[in-house]
Symmetry: C2
Subunit: 449 residues, 2 copies
């Protein structure tokens, strides 16, 4: 831990030196506001102000201390801390024990959960190095030997299908080299559900669980969900013994139950709530209670493993970037579709209305595109429910035009799957309608309801 005063400068650095403490240490603090507390000094990002020192409390909640309010600060012994730092530098340590400690690969791609906060502006900055990352997750100590890796340090809205390829390959490579028992992928929540769907396909057949996790509120907020989501994700990755790609996020607003969603069936349905993520037309896989107990959901059915086991589909990590997702709306200009194809797009997922419809004008353009070899898949902007192109004329016209109705895959999952299918295989329509992982469910015909 060379960067002992990591990120601290000016007055803040002065105070740390005065009390002989450094980033990464446990300290006991008393302030002029009569606050007395213990916590871990968290490193700061490069451009942070010098008026605050950031402390991570036992709860996982971070607070910013004004440097001029610090009355006293003294380093305290933290046995776990010592052990933890030791374990990152020498993995052998844990293997000496009679009970082998498990290995958790902790991959960060950026986002709120892997961020530090600027207490002056309230802005959030990503952790930039493995040691940065490591110091932000003391709550994982007791669970396993942590192997932190920063694969990207980006906001998830900047993540692309090409990044999904890199991320998939790095996860496989790192997990193997670290002899990992489970993987936790930290990322921004904005495109988390797109990514979890993508990884579900590219990591099909991978031997260990991969849990994608984010936070809706950064760890400086009283309502932060970062610590509990992360601890629960790690527990599921290490203890569930169920390979596959999952998402771990708050089940409801309380700080007890974390939902474990199937990676292909989850969607971000609220901009800010901690329980923003919901499984769509699908049961939860499990919940993790109090970050310590996995409660399996009896209604969840394991995907059939026939497809997993086929080597042809195992660990195919390429994603084609030439895919687009287009939402239809009243008065939609279908020349958008032709424009995309002129720019190299090979497959388009359309969010139609209702059962998967578009205007007559749009059907005509789709027919031309399909003739020229472009894949066009229909989903619905309703989000819930199956598309069905057999009920109305518009649907039948779409079938005639060669559009492929994608059951109840919602647009985001269909988009990620299409990128994967086009990246690795030839038979696009057939594979889009092959149910690899329960990414769609059996349709109950409308006429029986």
């Amino acid at each position: 831990m060379e960067e002992s005063t990591e990120g601290y400068r000016g007055s803040a650095l002065h105070v740390l030196r005065k009390y002989g403490v450094k980033a990464g240490q446990m300290v006991e603090v008393v302030t002029t506001d009569e606050l007395e507390t213990r916590g871990l000094i968290v490193p700061r990002y490069e451009y942070a102000d010098d008026a605050h020192i950031v402390l991570k409390l036992k709860s996982g909640y971070n607070i910013g201390l004004q440097v001029n309010s610090v009355k006293s600060m003294r380093p305290i012994q933290d046995s776990k801390q010592e052990e933890k730092i030791d374990s990152t530098t020498a993995r052998g340590h844990s293997e000496d024990s009679s009970l082998r400690k498990k290995n958790l690969l902790l991959v960060s791609t950026g986002g709120t959960i892997a961020s530090r906060v600027d207490y002056r502006t309230g802005a959030v900055y990503p952790a930039l190095s493995a040691s940065d990352l490591y110091l932000t997750v003391p709550e994982l100590d007791h669970l396993a030997v942590i192997h932190p890796e920063v694969v990207f340090s980006i906001y998830s809205e900047n993540m692309t299908p090409s990044d999904w390829s890199v991320l998939s390959s790095r996860i496989i490579e790192l997990a193997r080299s670290k002899n990992s028992d489970g993987v936790v992928v930290m990322m921004g929540t904005d495109t988390l559900a797109y990514t979890s769907a993508a990884l579900s396909f590219s990591l099909m057949g991978f031997e260990i669980p991969v849990v994608v996790v984010g936070a809706q509120r950064s760890s400086d907020r009283p309502s932060s969900d970062a610590a509990l989501n992360l601890r629960s994700a790690a527990l599921f990755a290490l203890e569930s013994k169920r390979p596959g790609v999952y998402v771990a996020m708050h089940l409801i607003e309380n700080d007890q139950s974390i939902a474990i969603h199937a990676g292909t069936r989850v969607r971000k349905n609220h901009t800010s709530r901690r329980d923003a993520f919901q499984s769509i037309d699908a049961p939860l896989v499990a919940t993790v209670e109090n970050a310590s107990e996995i409660k399996w959901n009896e209604n969840y059915e394991l995907p059939k493993e026939d497809n997993h086991r086929s080597d042809r589909f195992r660990l195919r990590t390429k994603f084609d970037k030439n895919v687009a997702l287009v939402k239809f709306h009243p008065g939609f200009d279908p020349s958008v579709l032709s424009h995309l194809v002129e720019n190299g797009i090979r497959g388009i997922i359309i969010e139609g209305t209702g059962l998967g419809h578009v205007s007559d004008l749009t059907v005509g353009v789709i027919a031309d595109l399909v003739k020229s070899g472009i894949f066009v898949g229909m989903t619905s902007q309703c989000i819930w429910g199956h598309v069905d192109l057999n009920v109305y004329d518009t649907g039948r016209d779409l079938i005639q035009a060669g559009a492929v109705p994608l059951e109840n895959m919602f647009a985001e999952t269909a988009f990620a799957k299409l990128s994967w299918v086009l990246g690795n295989f030839e038979e696009t329509s057939e594979l889009m309608l092959t149910n690899f992982l329960g990414e769609f469910s059996l349709r109950i015909p409308l006429s029986t309801r």
Copy 2:
């Protein structure tokens, strides 16, 4: 009612003539399947097969009788029926009564609710004339004098912002000429919520309630929601005494409660369920119980009427067709935005991720478009929750680029509003952020949650 055998031909027409009955008449039927029932002979669409006669039962549910199964059929007296037919040809009738019967303007634009079913193929065809329409709604008899008008006969996915202008003007003109007490607009559910939002703005200041209604299952299905939705919509239009634009659809799957949604806060969230429509981040206005009682929701707050009452915003029925709605996704190609603008688009609603984000690449293109005078409004594909461009760099960059965060208006409502604002006024950003009708709600700052 000249077209007495409307739509019937071949064997079906033969049977009707044999028993001396015609479309629009109440009959009592016995079949070889030992079915005995009473119902109204419903007209058929032009190209229907000749092997079925369609009967509307008292419940509103339609059945198709195989003509060769008809053992006997006799016309029966239906006093209401006589009165009803009379009332359409001579409105004076009801005004002679001491208790004036109310006038309901029933506007059809097409869709499942205003459709007939081909019992051979199961396909659904729209009612094409006012008398067609009239005969499909005997269930409205007792409520009012019905003035049926077919404004369009299209699937709602073909409805455009230009059609919204026509529809708005026709509603105003017809309601006034018929001295209407309320208006029911029947349409396809695919773009119903876009239309209800559009009408909410264009009919601001209109004196009577306008209720938009659709059906998720056509009236030939045991599970049809058509009759109950329609009766409840009519009741609310006639009895609520609350001007404004509303949507009436099933509250849950049972056949008792119909939800009355505010026209700007409702979204179709399921492809096929009867309770597909949900109010987003907003309470219901009311429910209608058993098509007979309005139960007001105490949590619903009436929109402030200051804006309604300003003549400047009253009954401005133009919609600009040069608007687009674009969904961002990982790897989104922002040249789509430039392409739209080259095609004449003046304003774009973007469905960003999370709090309203897009990739850095896209921010750059947005900055250029805004500089050239294009309006760009940010919403979120999460659907629920407020956008907030003050939390992350991406958001601040978007603000800097000139994108306008549209609170918690979801994309469909924002799109309809933008079309209306651009169609009638100059100050686009200011009016997009003016809360005319409760189309967005007050934001609770993230930092306090």
